[in-house]
Amino acid sequence: MLFNSFQFILFFAIVFGLYLALPHRAQNRMLLIASYIFYGAWDWRFLGLLAASTVADYCFAQWIEDLRVDRRRKQLVAASMAVNLVFLGFFKYFNFFIDSFADVCGWFGFSPHVPTLKIILPVGISFYTFQSMSYVIDVYRRRLTASRSLPDFALYVAFFPQLVAGPIERATNLLAQIASERRVSSFGLAHGGFLILWGYFQKIYVADNLAIITDQVFAAGAHPPGNMVLLGAYAFFIQIYCDFAGYSNIARGLALCMGFRFMLNFNLPLLASSPSDFWGRWHLSFSTWLRDYLFTPLGGFRKGPLLAYRNLFITMFLCGLWHGAAWHFVAWGMYAGLTLAVHRTLQAFRPFAKLGEWLVSRSVTLVLCILFRFLVIDFLSPILFRAQSLNQAGQLLSSLFQGWGAMDFDVWGRFFFYIAPLFAMEIIQYRANDQYIVLKWPLLARVTLYLALFYGIAIFGMQNAQSFIYFQF
């Protein structure tokens, strides 16, 4: 059930109507049932997996909390991680590791007969598994008391706005809101309504229309000229951002309408001025998860530069692998790690650090920094991410040097037509340092903006609902 489908709009209308009519406890039960219906609409066979993962972590957290012996607590948290990672590993990585093992054997002249299974990847498994894992770890770290209400915890894991593509909410934030009474307010409806409208615009107007361009460039067997590879890379960067940020904004908006507050998942990352700045704005619920539960426990930047780089590359390697069981995702993660490492190295030199500070302190040079990061540093990322294999990524990159080709001004024109409103809005938000700045505009300006967004969706939307890219992760 996609957010951008009539099915979901009807579903949410019913859920919201019931939500308004019910008292707090009944609201939670109703939301839990609705969330399971929402997930079951995609494939009911995986409801059991979701429930099993939920019950396992609910029990583990209570046992961990009840124990006093640290060694036993550690064993239990390890067991919980193992259960979660076995689920995730089996469904997401089984065939990848088997195939990779066979490839490695092939290099040494062996050709083992390896079994591969036709495994369907349960939608959103990476998101709810990570969310559930963070809860157990937080209980283990005594940052949180274990939930004593299974329905509340089940709702925390399965809450439908963020179940299949995040934000990966922390229990410290969401579970507390589930347990306490919420209020549907005109503030929440206005802010939530704007987020929903803007999210749909990002998804339907920008992402889905750019997908037509990127699909042509990245199609298997396509040999696009250099200028189309360039266009495809930038178009995909913006497409995946709008696809994912659009989903997050709709999720946050839906939650806000019901009185829940989700964390900010994207803070205008297209306007980041450096790789570090970018990762401080991109998929925040995941990047902060990696920071808190992987990078920092590994030692972070605390144990000298060499270990810091090791930690960075391990984190970004796993970040790439989280996105998909394929080597081009790993390469993408490693490239991101490399850009971060280079930026950090340069920052360590005082003249460079001073230069960096000076560059971002002036409007003109800040714009140049943003353009340099977007056009040059991050040019490779979308190619590695979107290519169907490392081989295809290599072919696309080599075609850049084999001929620029004739510019198709129609396609370039279409590209600018779809990205112009996005950048206009983001620049306004960036300058005001406030994503809700438009809500402070005069009434007439707001109404004009809402109408523009609405007609952008209604007139320029695709005929059929397009799936969200991040569902596959």
Partner: protein, 322 residues
């Protein structure tokens, strides 16, 4: 009651979102008056607009698929007074043909005869890739939406029709996009993905709930069968004789099909219906013509249309003799 406190504090009356909704309703109301007369995507749009704005007094009305369209247009060119050509497209299935007849009868006197150029009147459950473009986007009277909501039993199918009804800008979005040269939309008769060079949407699958609904509402029959029975009942009530003519086929198709494969079952079911509705008359077999008379295996090449139309006119005159 705390949850609903936002309703009673009236701040929402000054909400930009609410005013935008009102503005959208006003704009769409105005667009609903202008766009249908401005954009015509295909022959069904033309036909529905004509039915809404013109009056007819035909003795013989012709409805059906695109081959029927070639033939009834040909007959009309040969003999202008013989029939009123309104055949359009097989994508309408029997449901669309039934709605067309209803719309015709709502504004015009009943014809004496109705010619239906249809291969298999029992085929179709409104799940084809063309349903969106030919049914959901076109037949938007509340009665039609309500009937399809019941027959199809799909809230999303119905919601899509309601949104087309309420939002003309959404209904004509591909046509509007075509007017913006930079977008490169050249063909509005297809789904936009195809217009942009992508792949068409695949045919909709039927889930268990939909199958159950179909058994319950249609007794396990197709939606087209229900529509066809309704059409027969309507004709019976209004005294309209129906002549069901299967489309002519090429000799190659005839060879592939074998001795009128599947036709026997259709004829059997038609015979059953004929016992119930004596206005129904039908041809038992498709006429077969040489391959070189077909441009794409289905439609006649332009050069032979008049000759074939004359043959069918003679056939119809023969069948319509009292």
């Amino acid at each position: 009651m705390r949850n609903r406190s936002f309703i009673s504090n009236f701040r929402w009356l000054r909400s930009g979102l609410l005013l935008s909704v009102l503005a959208v309703l006003a704009i769409e109301w105005q667009l609903g008056r202008t766009l249908p007369g401005h954009y015509f995507r295909h022959e069904v749009d033309d036909l529905l607009y004509s039915l809404d704005h013109r009056s007819y007094d035909a003795r013989v009305l012709s409805l059906g698929n695109s081959v029927g369209r070639q033939l009834d247009q040909g007959i009309h060119r040969l003999d202008r007074g013989f029939l009123r050509p309104m055949s359009s497209n097989a994508a309408l299935e029997m449901t669309g043909q039934y709605f067309l007849l209803c719309r015709y009868l709502a504004r015009n006197p009943a014809p004496e005869s109705l010619i239906l150029w249809v291969d298999n009147p029992f085929y179709g459950d409104l799940r084809s890739v063309y349903t969106e473009n030919y049914i959901q986007r076109c037949f938007l009277r509340w009665r039609e939406i309500g009937l399809l909501a019941w027959w199809r039993g799909s809230p999303t199918f119905t919601a899509s029709m309601i949104s087309y009804r309420l939002l003309p800008s959404f209904r004509y979005r591909v046509d509007i996009q075509k007017d913006i040269p930079i977008l490169g939309v050249r063909e509005v008769n297809l789904a936009p993905q195809v217009a942009f060079g992508g792949r068409p949407q695949s045919a909709r699958k039927q889930n268990a709930l939909a199958r159950w609904w179909q058994r319950w509402v249609h007794g396990g029959q197709s939606i087209s069968t229900t529509a066809f029975e309704r059409l027969l009942a309507l004709c019976e009530e209004r005294g309209i004789r129906i002549y069901l003519i299967p489309a002519p086929i090429s000799s190659r198709v005839a060879l592939d099909r074998g001795p009128q494969q599947g036709r026997a079952e259709i004829n059997e079911r038609l015979a059953e219906l004929q016992k119930k509705f004596d206005v129904l008359h039908y041809e038992t077999e498709s006429r077969v013509y040489p391959d070189n008379e077909f441009v794409d295996g289905t439609h006649f090449v332009e050069g032979v249309v008049l000759a074939r139309a004359a043959e069918y006119r003679d056939l119809l005159q023969e069948r319509m003799k009292p």
